[in-house]
């Protein structure tokens, strides 16, 4: 620490793997019409329940096999990724904006603002989240925007709680008092002094929340409450795969693996990002 700065820690394999998977999945989803080998909606009963490529009876061009209607599984997963990522980004960012803002206000100003916000959060969190989501979508009607709204409405409390606690801790630090003595206004101190210190947590939570949003979206489509039934979604494919588990296990297993990898990657990526954003841990 005497001479210059501590050398930057190298990017961990964890970050590489998680980031690599997310990038791959994201690119595949963005360019789905170009990379998907087949039309995800094309049914062909002659090709039903084709096994994945390494098993006997596989057809070239259907790498992960087909489902009971003869639709290409890989293409469906790729197209399902579009919905998964749109929901993940939109819902998490919305939840993050609402939750972090309220958490920052609650933690920094304290007093009645904190009491009101904290009580609302407590009441909000008393609802079981998945049930709440199903209820909300049932009320709002199915569709992409209702799913996004439902997830944001449920999960802003997660941000609010964590950011409130972080902000309270930071607000008690001497540097905040110093800024007050120097004559900064309250809002200025909150934004310029406190906020930068809670950003690492916001980033980590945001990434974690994206993983959660992917799961919730899958659950909603699993119970057929997400998007219109035609569009492939990961949860929808899992629901279909469940029915034919004995004849075609791959229809269940591949979307599950995709889902798990994506969710894990989001949380790992968040942790790694947190350390990068934090000047003390970096």
């Amino acid at each position: 620490m005497d001479e210059g700065r501590a050398p930057r820690r190298r990017v961990s394999p964890r970050l590489w793997l998680a980031g690599g998977w997310l990038l791959l999945a994201l690119l595949a989803a963005i360019f789905a019409p170009l990379v998907a080998p087949q039309d995800p909606l094309a049914q062909d009963l002659m090709l039903e329940r084709l096994p994945p490529f390494w098993m006997s009876g596989a057809e070239p061009g259907y790498w992960l096999g087909t489902d009971s209607l003869g639709r290409d599984l890989l293409s469906r997963l790729i197209f399902g990724g579009r919905i998964a990522f749109v929901v993940a980004f939109a819902a998490s960012i919305a939840a993050c904006l609402v939750g972090s803002t309220l958490g920052l206000i609650s933690g920094y100003f304290g007093g009645w603002a904190d009491r009101v916000i904290s009580r609302v959060v407590d009441v909000w969190m008393a609802f079981p989240p998945v049930l709440f989501a199903i209820l909300l979508v049932a009320v709002l009607g199915t569709g992409l925007s209702s799913v996004i709204i439902a997830i944001a409405v449920i999960d802003w409390t997660r941000f609010c709680r964590v950011i409130r606690a972080e902000t309270m801790g930071q607000s008690r630090m001497d540097y905040v008092e110093n800024a007050r003595i120097a004559g900064y206004g309250r809002i200025g101190i909150m934004l310029r002094e406190v906020l930068p210190n809670v950003v690492p947590s916001i980033v980590a939570l945001l990434s974690l929340e994206m993983g959660i949003a992917v799961i919730v979206e899958a659950i909603l489509s699993f119970v057929n409450l997400s998007i219109s039934t035609d569009d492939p979604t990961w949860g929808g494919i899992i629901a279909e795969g469940r029915l034919s588990i004995h004849q075609a296990w791959w229809v269940l297993v591949f979307p599950l693996i995709t889902l798990i990898l994506t969710v894990l990657s989001f949380s790992q990526f968040g942790e790694a990002l947190k350390t990068r954003f934090d000047p003390v841990l970096r």
Binding site: M1, D2, G4, R5, A6, M173, D174, Y175, E177, N178, R180, I181, A182, G183, Y184, R192, E193, P196, N197, V199, D278, P279, V280
Partner: protein
Amino acid sequence: MSACLDISGLSAVLPNGQRVLRSVSLSVQSGEVRALVGESGAGKTMIGKAVLGVLPSSVRIVEGDIRLEGEDLGRLQPKARRTLIGARTALIPQDPLTALNPSRRIGSQMTDRLVRILGWSGERADTRIRQLLDEVQIRDPDRVLKSYPHELSGGMRQRVLIAAAFAAEPRLIVADEPTTALDVTVQKQILRLIVQLQREHGTAILFVTHDLGVVAKISQKVSVLYAGKVVEEAETAALFAAPQHPYTRALMAATPRYTDPFASLKPVDEAVLAGLAAEIAVADQAWRRPHG
């Protein structure tokens, strides 16, 4: 010499009605160092916070006033008070480890205040900061300005904070036990720096400490505080030559000495504490009568 800081009859209470400051009066003349000694919990830091306008919200000032260069802080609107305090005072904090924002570079933290609060140009602020870093004997300002706080040692951070405190040429600096969190060897250098800068800049300092050794080295006047009450006030030399109050004498006797390293530590005598308790009870009674 005029009074830079004048506190008269300041009393403050906790929500449960307990008095934490008991009619404190003290003044700091321009360019003078006034030490405020007392054991922990005596209210030394509380006085500093009251002057700087950052008392915890649970502590309420019920009586007395604080004048900063003649301006009565209690009579000013909150915004005007903050501007005045920001322009004329500064703090050298106790713990240099938490007093700098961990996620901002030293340079931007130091210049920010000059630019945004006092309206200096960025260039002028930068020149000023470098000049001050030189005065606190930081030899490689470029590296320090680009660093984050955790990349510097405690002593370096305290130097940075001292430089920051003097940068805006405040009339008064509150130094709240600025050496307590530091290594003994570093303490001495930091004290010397504070004294040196204080002389060069002619700044008045309210120096809060529990260390009588530091008091003797640095201050011209001393106020001895016990349970939020000033029990003795004197010129430093006079106080050490002939302490008047038994508590002051006990404090001096309690200071360990290098000349007699094997002597056991002397706690403050029971009789002295009983006398203090009685003194405070009388003062509180006298105070309560008109205040219900």
